[in-house]
């Protein structure tokens, strides 16, 4: 889809009721956008839980003792980079440039796997040192919030693999490019949630 026309739409003055049905691309994109916002509200509830419980450590380790900021910084950079490569991948899908699409989306996948692996290692280390989710209300809230985000990223990776398979078998059909496009929105939204996670959970620990 070309978006070369920089002029403002002239149809804006026409009432919505007279404009006819929206294209499936607009309907699907808007519907997915609403889903993402509802997903962000789910995270809002988990953020609220964490904020309320973050000092209820039950005599166990506190947030400031547990987290390694360098590790989190690397995780953040992985996710940010994967968000940008995903953007370039989406542009390649729009241009129906298969080689560029595979290159950028494979990079996105690798960076996403790095993120999940680093988070998994952090969780495993915490559980091994006795700071598992059952230790205190603070740790339960931490594992729920960060774990839900990690689960979203993992499911996003599964989705990305499915999309790559679909692009290979079906080619750039309209429905495939629509799904790629929704995947891009999902991935960017997860990066926005991660900004909240590293600010409130990791940097807010003191």
């Amino acid at each position: 889809m070309s978006a070369a026309d920089p002029a403002l739409p002239t149809e804006i003055g026409i009432p919505l009721s007279l404009r006819g049905a929206a294209t499936i691309r607009v309907v699907a994109g808007f519907g997915f956008w609403l889903f993402l916002l509802s997903d962000i509200i789910l995270f809002a509830a988990l953020f609220a839980t964490y904020s309320v419980l973050s000092s209820s450590t039950a005599g166990g380790p506190t947030a400031a003792e547990l987290f390694d900021k360098k590790h989190v910084f690397l995780e953040t950079m992985c996710l940010l980079a994967s968000s940008v490569t995903c953007g370039f991948g989406s542009l390649a899908v729009q241009r129906t440039d298969a080689r560029a699409m595979y290159l950028w989306m494979a990079t996105t996948f690798v960076l996403g796997v790095c993120f999940v692996a680093m988070e998994g290692r952090e969780f495993a280390g915490m559980v091994a040192s006795g700071a598992g989710p059952s230790h205190s209300a603070f740790l339960s809230a931490f594992f729920t919030l960060v774990g839900t985000h990690g689960l979203h990223v993992s499911l996003g990776l599964v989705w990305l693999v499915i999309m790559l398979l679909q692009a290979t078998t079906l080619g750039f059909q309209p429905m495939v490019s629509r799904r790629f496009f929704s995947f891009g929105l999902f991935w960017h939204a997860l990066d926005i949630v991660w900004i909240g996670v590293f600010t409130i959970v990791y940097l807010g620990a003191r």
């Binding site: 739409p9 929206a22 607009v26 956008w33 962000i40 809002a44 953020f47 309320v52 953007g87 590293f198």
Partner: protein, 124 residues
């Protein structure tokens, strides 16, 4: 297809005008990396007055979320994006209600709650 699309509004993520294609993502990256580095710096430095650090972190996080929304998701307040923008505004509103509402209520509850020792004394 393009004129038809614009007549119906655009979907999030599609840049109908303004910064195009790869440049938008590069600008986003160039804005997001310094903001991230600044966040991590603010959390570890002793140069900033300590009670002001949470406010600074919040400001940096909100700025970075704004960068992501504008340059990665391409949501703007343009006339053809009214639906997307309204939905985003409602999402932000509910998020703020849930997070700050919970924190306020729980802080008041904690404040008005008797401590455990006093409670057990009364029960005896």
């Amino acid at each position: 297809m393009n004129s038809h699309l614009q007549a119906q509004g655009t979907v999030p993520g599609v840049d109908a005008r303004g910064v195009h294609g790869g440049r938008s993502y590069l600008i986003g990256l160039l804005c997001a990396v310094p903001l991230t580095v600044a966040s991590f710096w603010a959390a570890t430095t002793s140069l900033v007055y300590p009670p002001a650090v949470p406010v600074l972190l919040a400001a940096l996080a909100i700025a970075q979320m704004g960068v992501h929304v504008a340059f990665f998701l391409h949501i703007s307040s343009a006339p053809d994006q009214t639906n997307n923008f309204l939905a985003l505004a409602f999402g932000v509103f509910v998020t703020a209600l849930v997070v700050f509402g919970s924190m306020m209520i729980m802080a008041h509850l904690n404040h008005n709650m008797m401590s455990m020792d006093e409670l057990t004394k009364i029960q005896r």
